[in-house]
């Protein structure tokens, strides 16, 4: 081996070590959880209180319980089922930091798939976090993976058989919380997590449950409320009222033969009325270009603009993009109207709440205005 070769080999080894150290540190950063600052009159418990099979694992997560002075119904709101869908997560955070409940109870799980917040999806090149400017400084939030972290549940099978239906899905879907309901107490960690959430719904006698999501613009179920048969009346009335507010939602029935989804199994395995809400998020789509924090926040991508002109998308794509404010505002209005429609139809289970901004207020004042400063 010549001196030159030895030098090149050494250089290669040193560079490899530097890259390893850098990426190790970057991956490690994801373990750090950025805080959420709850409002008053909240009780915070762990999800493992409802099923101790997830205790001490990365699937365990915080549950925020807001109870009113008066008795009424109970609502559950799930953010972060898919941690790569930031509007769902940030809507849950905003609720935790702003919401005041005066009648009944509202229970919020912002990081439903807590494990998924500790990694991103391989080969997607998405940012690990995003920043929102508040009135007093910048706050950081995690952007994670659609799936549970593979370090928490390994290996994936060739084919995932959903329990108990036996429906076949590709192997990695076994780490997808929204394909794992109603869950299995002695199953893999994702199934245990799903079981814990179903246990919470049963134990707390949740009347109305809302699972917050986002989807890419080329996905046909977009800007949608997906409703179980039992939820359909409330969903249809809410859809009309949202239209009157100028917020268009498509109403989709939950197919009986698609198993594992919250909108299906929560309805079939508990007494709750389930809903799933989707907003349109360009950073999730295959047509996107540069995958940056700016795309996550502003939702503008020139390739999507082009795709929209060619009529390839299922949803209108405005010239200014679909910013996180719009997506969060849509989620919030849908939550408000779904809960108030439910209360109208079930006055004995009324849920009363206040202090949430409107869609137009969020657009006008921006998200950071409604989040705590973190100081």
């Amino acid at each position: 081996m010549s001196k030159d070769q030895i030098f090149r080999n050494c250089l290669f080894i040193v560079l490899t070590i530097i890259i390893c150290i850098y990426s190790f540190a970057k991956f490690g950063e994801m373990e750090e959880e950025y805080p959420i600052y709850p409002g008053e009159n909240v009780e915070i418990v762990r999800l493992s209180n409802y099923f101790d099979g997830i205790k001490g694992t990365n699937a365990d997560t915080d549950v925020y319980i807001y109870g009113g002075q008066e008795d009424g119904g109970s609502a559950l709101i799930l953010g972060g089922t898919h941690p790569n869908e930031p509007a769902g997560f940030i809507t849950a955070v905003l609720l935790i930091e702003r919401l005041k409940v005066n009648k009944g109870r509202v229970i919020i799980i912002p990081r439903a798939n807590n494990s998924g917040f500790t990694c991103t999806d391989p080969q997607e090149g998405v940012p690990q976090e995003f920043r929102i400017e508040t009135s007093d400084g910048i706050r950081k939030f995690r952007h994670g993976s659609r799936f549970m972290n593979i370090l928490d549940q390994w290996p994936d099978p060739e084919v995932y058989l959903h329990y108990p239906s036996g429906q076949k899905l590709s192997g990695n879907e076994r780490r997808n919380l929204n394909r794992s309901y109603p869950g299995k107490p002695d199953g893999v960690l994702t199934e245990k997590l799903a079981h814990a959430i179903v246990q919470l719904i049963n134990t707390e006698r949740i009347d109305i449950s809302i699972d917050l999501h986002e989807a890419s613009l080329e996905y046909p179920v977009i800007d949608a409320i997906v409703a179980h048969e039992r939820s359909m009346d409330v969903a249809a009335m809410a859809q009309i009222d949202l239209q009157i507010l100028g917020i268009d939602y498509n109403l989709e029935p939950s197919p009986v033969n698609f198993r594992g989804f919250s909108h299906r199994e929560w309805g079939d395995y508990t007494e709750t009325m389930p809903f799933l809400i989707e907003s349109a998020n360009p950073i999730q789509g295959r047509m996107r270009g540069e995958t940056t924090e700016e795309l996550l926040l502003k939702g503008y991508d020139k390739y999507y603009a082009e795709a929209s002109e060619l009529g390839l998308l299922y949803t209108p794509y405005p010239a200014e993009g679909i910013p996180l404010e719009v997506r969060t505002g849509r989620h919030l209005e849908a939550i408000k109207i779904l809960i108030s429609t439910f209360s109208l139809l079930n006055p004995e289970k009324e849920i009363g709440f206040s202090d949430l901004p409107s869609y137009s207020e969020i657009i006008e004042n921006k998200l950071g205005y409604y989040l705590k400063t973190g100081r």
Binding site: A235, I240, D248, E252, F258, Y314
Partner: protein, 185 residues
């Protein structure tokens, strides 16, 4: 001068009539059969809007010819939903055939057909357009939201068939049109 005034008044009346289209609309009668072409949940929304307009409909997602017995008005809500077709366990071709048969039978029985499209852009495109076309061509009258008719898809059908079309901004705007058509107060 008076003559010019008269002309102007007549002109305004004519513009008024063509713009609203109300005067040329047929009257519709109950009993109503409500079905969906493409199995979207827009049928549920329509049912609620009909109720708000004081109209009771027999809602049959997969209505067949036999469901037309004693019916005076058939309302078809056009737009495909993959989730809906999945839930109803019916494929696209069978669904199209069902709508064609139903429309043909309605025509034979002198049952008026009102076709609605309220799902906007999402209920257009590859999956939905065949349903929109079949249901549109079956119609005696069309009510569609603007966002689903940006390319003039329904306007063209209405022009070709020489039928009336109401373009509305959002689905709740359908309520006053329905009360007018069914002469509800």
């Amino acid at each position: 001068m008076k003559r010019i005034c008269d002309y102007i008044i007549i002109l305004f009346i004519l513009i008024g009539f063509t713009a609203t289209g109300f005067s040329q609309d047929m009257k519709l009668e109950e009993p109503v059969l409500l079905t969906a072409a493409g199995q979207s949940a827009d049928i549920k929304i329509t049912d609620i809007l009909l109720k708000r307009a004081g109209i009771t409909a027999n809602v049959v997602n997969l209505a067949e010819v036999k469901d037309l017995t004693d019916i005076k008005t058939l309302i078809i809500v056009a737009g495909g939903s993959s989730k809906g077709l999945g839930a109803a366990n019916i494929d696209k071709d069978k669904e199209l055939e069902r709508i064609s048969n139903l429309a043909e039978a309605a025509k034979k029985e002198n049952i008026k057909t009102l076709t609605l499209h309220i799902g906007g852009k999402t209920r257009r495109g590859k999956l939905s357009d065949p349903f929109c076309e079949t249901a549109g061509n079956a119609a005696d009258l069309l009510i569609v939201t603007k966002s689903g008719n940006e390319d003039g898809f329904f306007t063209k059908i209405a022009a070709a068939k020489k039928i009336n079309i109401h373009e509305i901004k959002n689905s709740p705007e359908m309520i006053p049109i329905l009360t007018g058509l069914f002469e509800k107060k």
